[in-house]
């Protein structure tokens, strides 16, 4: 028997380490070491009910276990084989106790549809993909459905584009299908550019065939025989796996002429992007593929009317495509049964920032931010306080405590002043300064703006400069007015989605953390202690023993003081690196 004890930060903070020791002690005392092993594991992601203990192989799941419970678990469960009922998880709705972790609601919080094969199959072996229902959807569509019928399945599924805009995929296909042209194109947007988002890369690396299969179905639906994958050259592994997958599909006749005897032809080629964020915008992407500067153009005309080389083109992103084979295999109703009223299915998020379980997760639409951050994500690092979560990357906004119980879907996020974006989720704790956060994102948009339209080219630069001034404690109240007006005008006048959303981080942090802005301006103080220009390291005289550790580690030699004498920091030289604070063992350095 194995006893798994959660060793994640959340449980650790609730003394799971003591629990682990007690359990081991009990095992030894009862001379069970030959049969029972006590093992520390990673976070179960259920920190709210921690510490967690799981018994293997019967999968009994104990929650909120205290160190003192160790004896009972060993005596009752390990020796006598009886579950300790009081430690079992109680379903919050029907109050029933559930012992098997696999039957617990928590484990259904993550459902992997787009990521279904990632971590399951070998992405470089088409046979494994076929074994996992691969290309069955394509076969079904090609052998028994008209383009119109297949498109209807897409419309009925309610799938919305996962690249950020959230436009209904089926309707997009239907528009492209209805346009008459001698040539049409299917484009897969694999130009994932949000800082911290990498779900598209992971899908292409872990399950490239699902994207290929969906693109062929897309081609059949809209009447295109040519597909292009626009992928950034910084994704070499994804490119390599995609190439292998394309070759395998060609060898099996799943790509090329007369696919599965249906008479339908489809070919896919790869186009490389140079990693410009704006090329995720579909018109800019198309221009880049055509060999032009990656700049957006005014819509209409939409790509469905005039896209790549002036021909009707349907552009969807990787995650969107990855959902599609499953929709055909399991049915539109099945897909539509997952999620919220207007946002169906699941969404992949890249969890990052001050969160324990940094990684990729996939949850049904309608999951709350609280569930994502505190249950799946394992809560905030080092037991700190949650402050905000940034969704939607540089186009999104910062959401706070009050938004934690909002069900995540396209419309709710938009209504809260942020957006879904491509699914980046950066969690911030009490040590994060919101002015700096806004400045960080603006720095990104300034860098990534294509420079075509004035508000985005110059406006974002000015926003950045004002934020920079404020973070240095040199801002004025007038700067806040300027930020607001400039932010509104940039949103109102920019040409493409990049500029229309770039002020969101500023505007949402101003809405939600007004006090922090005021503190920077009126008190010349950074409440989170992050803005270098506004913090000072000083020696706490009563604690200083004169050990010289700080002076020896100061990279700019700005700390003076003899041995066993109180030290002094020269503020005019200090670069605020924090080395002194780190090295001092006597709490004799303070930050203000």
């Amino acid at each position: 028997m194995h006893i798994l004890v959660c060793g994640g930060t959340g449980c650790h903070a609730s003394s799971s380490n003591l629990l682990l020791e007690n359990l081991k002690e009990q095992v030894d005392e009862n001379e069970l070491s030959g049969e029972v092993q006590v093992i520390a594991t990673g976070c179960f992601g259920f920190c709210e009910k921690g510490p967690i203990v799981k018994m293997v192989p019967d999968n009994t799941f104990y929650t909120q276990v205290k160190p003192a419970d160790a004896t009972e678990i060993i005596q009752e469960h390990a020796i006598k084989g009886r579950q300790v009922t009081r430690l079992l998880y109680k379903d919050p709705v029907n109050k029933e106790t559930i012992s098997d972790s696999r039957k617990m609601g928590f484990y259904k919080k993550q459902i992997r549809i787009a990521l279904r094969n990632c971590g399951l199959i070998n992405p470089e072996n088409i046979d494994e993909y076929i074994a996992a229902d691969g290309y069955i959807a394509l076969g079904t569509v090609l052998s028994g459905m008209t383009a119109e019928q297949a498109t209807k399945v897409m419309i009925d599924s309610g799938l919305r584009g996962r690249g950020g805009g959230g436009f209904p995929t089926g309707i997009k296909w239907d528009i492209a299908r209805k346009v008459e042209a001698d040539q049409k194109y299917v484009v897969c947007n694999a130009d994932e550019g949000d800082p911290g988002a990498f779900m598209d890369r992971s899908i292409l690396e872990g399950d490239p065939h699902s994207v290929i299969e969906a693109m062929i179905i897309n081609g059949y639906c809209i009447g295109a025989d040519h597909g292009l994958v626009y992928i950034r050259a910084e994704y070499p592994l994804a490119i390599e796996r995609l190439k292998i997958a394309l070759n395998q599909a060609r060898e099996y006749g799943l790509l090329g002429k007369d696919i599965l005897g249906s008479g339908f032809n489809f070919e896919i080629e790869i186009r490389y992007g140079a990693g410009a964020f704006v090329c995720g915008e579909e018109t800019a992407l198309i221009h880049s593929m055509e060999g032009h500067r990656g700049e957006p153009t005014f819509k209409p005309p939409f790509p469905a009317q005039s896209g790549y080389l002036g021909k009707p083109t349907n552009v969807n992103n990787v995650e969107t495509f990855a959902n599609i084979p499953v929709i055909f295999n399991k049915g539109a109703e099945w897909f539509a049964s997952i999620g919220t009223e207007k946002s169906k299915g699941t969404k992949v998020f890249a969890l990052a920032g001050k969160i324990n379980n940094v990684g990729l997760i996939e949850v049904p639409m309608g999951t709350t931010l609280r569930e994502v951050i505190f249950e799946i994500g394992g809560g905030i690092k080092d037991g700190k306080k949650f402050k905000a979560v940034q969704t939607g990357g540089p186009s999104g906004g910062c959401l706070t405590e009050k938004h934690l119980d909002t069900p995540i879907d396209f419309d709710n996020l938009l209504a809260s002043g942020s957006m879904m974006g491509s699914g980046g989720m950066i969690v911030m704790d009490e040590d994060d300064c919101m002015v700096s956060v806004a400045r960080f994102y603006l720095d990104f948009t300034v860098e990534e703006s294509c420079g075509k339209c004035t508000p985005c080219r110059v406006g974002n630069k000015r926003l950045y400069e004002i934020l920079d001034t404020i973070s240095k404690g040199k801002g004025t109240h007038k700067d806040l007015d300027k930020l607001r007006n400039l932010g509104d005008v940039i949103k109102d006048t920019s040409l493409c989605g990049l500029g229309q959303t770039s002020p969101n981080p500023v505007l949402s942090t101003m809405d939600n953390f007004w006090d922090e802005y005021i503190a920077h301006i009126e008190d010349h103080r950074c409440p989170a202690g992050q803005c270098k220009e506004l913090i000072h390291y000083t020696v706490v005289e009563e604690n200083c023993v004169g050990c010289t550790a700080c002076a020896r580690n100061c990279p700019v030699n700005c700390i003076a003081g003899e041995r066993k004498e109180i030290h002094f920091i020269d503020q005019s030289i200090c670069i605020k690196c924090g080395a002194c604070l780190e090295k001092c063992k006597f709490n004799a350095i303070s930050v203000s």
Binding site: C6, T41, L115, G119, E205, G253, L260, I376
Partner: protein, 129 residues
């Protein structure tokens, strides 16, 4: 390689491949195959998954353990890369995080050889459709 000509062909192939995989997954024989999957996405590789995979392949062979080592995509536990999944015949898979060569050695000796779990297990917290 022969071309797949129709949906029926494809379904036949699926049955065949699936039973192949099932055979090695649900082997009735005690000497059945051990399956090791190494998450080899960019995040894994960047954290050293290649070394772990090489180690696994050479050492399982050296130590005469009948095992299949395959690569797979990102399991989602990027905070704990490299991650590997061990599936002993007839048992549920177990995922380990922060696997380095030393850990891999421990996993081979204790988990794979003796069926004893070792520290560093990451509970699977999602459901795949």
């Amino acid at each position: 390689m022969k071309k797949v000509k129709s949906l029926a062909d494809l379904k036949k192939m699926k049955e065949q491949f699936q039973s192949n995989i099932n055979l090695r997954e649900k082997s009735e024989h005690p000497e059945g195959l051990v399956q090791v999957k190494v998450a080899m996405a960019t995040c894994g590789i960047a954290s050293g998954a290649k070394d772990v995979m090489d180690f696994m392949i050479t050492n399982l062979e050296k130590r005469n353990i009948d095992a299949i080592v395959t690569q797979t995509g990102c399991m989602g536990y990027c905070y704990a890369e490299p991650t590997i999944e061990i599936r002993l015949p007839g048992q549920d898979p177990v995922v380990y995080g922060y696997v380095d060569v030393k850990k891999a050695d421990e996993i081979i000796e204790k988990h794979i050889r003796q069926g004893e779990l070792v520290d560093g297990i990451i509970p699977i917290n999602y459901e795949t459709i």
